[in-house]
Point group: C2
Chain length 255, copies 2
């Protein structure tokens, strides 16, 4: 499994990904799922991948090869991130055309998804989710995040705390906690965690972070967070119980 | 969908359930999913239900009928909660024997699950999860909660904060927040929320709570919680970014 997360913000964007890949519970390995195709000073293009590893590696490989044959359309020739999202969708379809029938014959799931984030000259910074079918959606200020992979465990913290105007450092911490919550609840999501923060209009990703297993920051963060949650319970308003007499008069919970 | 949650504790137990039932997104209704079959002063038996409503209602109906024909085995004749969990499993199998073939013919999911919690004389308070197949597991101090239905959104807060020794009021607040997080992230889980807290060895459920849509406590709780989360971000240790020079020297995120 995988968990990757992109967040757009008035001030830029944040991308985060775990690194665990598994084929069953008895074959677990580590792969990067966060890729930086930026040309510093010119364009920022970040990708996250989820799903069948042979398919996502196939797509990344195609994208890299195209960069080495400059006469073809490639990540550096498009003038809009929207077109890049569509291009990645086309690459997914290309790999699926080649492999999917063979995978499905053995009931292997060929699905995958990509987050595409960044900024091209003349555009604001943007975030897209490209589905396994090659179609795609864009994050908007109303729902400023998109997730791929094991999305549920890490969603409540985003739903509760993120806005388009949250301070960037808080957004990055929120992304990290969202990944950490998922790692804690699903063993198929695991470290290292890769995190990137991009400030809009700088056209260079200056903030990167890799947190490995046993990283003291991860331990400190968890401790601080869990302590805060415990304090939060204490500051929550007291429950207003409907106190029952000795014998329950009327059983409100049976129809 | 549904989300129900049971938590055991050194001091007793807490059960919580939402009340939303849906057949697709265009048919949503409200049903109790938390049932109290206790005899105050003698035995405490609480049930939560999840899954196909005709099946769970069928099981509850069988259990009620048996209580009216005292010569049969029924919830009040068993001397152990373990046996009651097994009995409920048998009732699920009985309804499945009757209906499942007909449901599956139209690709309708007949699965369901139950939480069974309470205390019988001579036993400590206990919590079981009965699966759709009729088999069941018991909560233990190491993992003091069991969930049924839409379990993922509400799990991180339990994983992060619950222990077998947490104070009961904190456990109840935690259960409420776990349900509330799920409601916020999945529209097919919805109010009213029903909550029960049972203090071990009292043999009566004296704390019950129903929070309806728009209940001021729910709004207060959400506000307090979200405020606490924001403060928690602020008190989190600062991220130790690996600052990138103007042009990224080495791209650590590309293999």
């Amino acid at each position: 499994m995988t968990y990757c997360l992109g967040i757009i913000n008035r001030a830029g964007l944040v991308l985060a990904a775990d690194s665990r890949t598994n084929a069953g519970v008895d074959y677990i390995s580590t792969y990067h799922k966060l890729f930086d195709f930026s040309i510093p000073g010119e364009r920022v293009i970040l990708l996250c991948t989820s799903g069948n590893l042979s398919v996502t590696q196939g797509v990344i490989n195609l994208l890299k090869r195209e960069l080495q044959t400059p006469e073809t359309d490639n990540l550096n020739t498009f003038s809009s991130l929207y077109d890049i999202a569509g291009h990645i969708g086309a690459k997914i379809r290309q790999i699926h055309d080649r492999d999917r029938e063979w995978l499905e014959r053995d009931k292997i799931d060929a699905s995958c998804s990509f987050l595409v984030a960044g900024q091209l000259p003349g555009e604001i910074s943007q975030l897209y989710l490209v589905y396994s079918q090659g179609n795609f959606i864009q994050a908007t200020p109303e729902t400023p995040f998109l997730q791929i992979g094991e999305t549920k465990y890490g969603k409540p913290i985003l739903d509760r705390t993120l806005t388009y105007d949250s301070p960037m450092e808080a957004v990055a911490k929120c992304a990290l906690l969202s990944i950490d919550s998922t790692m804690k609840s699903n063993i198929s999501v695991g470290p290292p965690i890769n995190l990137m923060m991009y400030h809009a209009d700088t056209f260079a990703v200056r903030h990167k972070l890799t947190l490995r297993l046993g990283d003291p920051y991860l331990a400190k963060m968890r401790k601080s967070w869990e302590e805060s949650l415990r304090q939060a319970f204490e500051s929550m308003p007291d429950l207003e119980w409907k106190h029952q007499p000795q014998a329950s008069d009327e059983d409100i919970f049976i129809d």
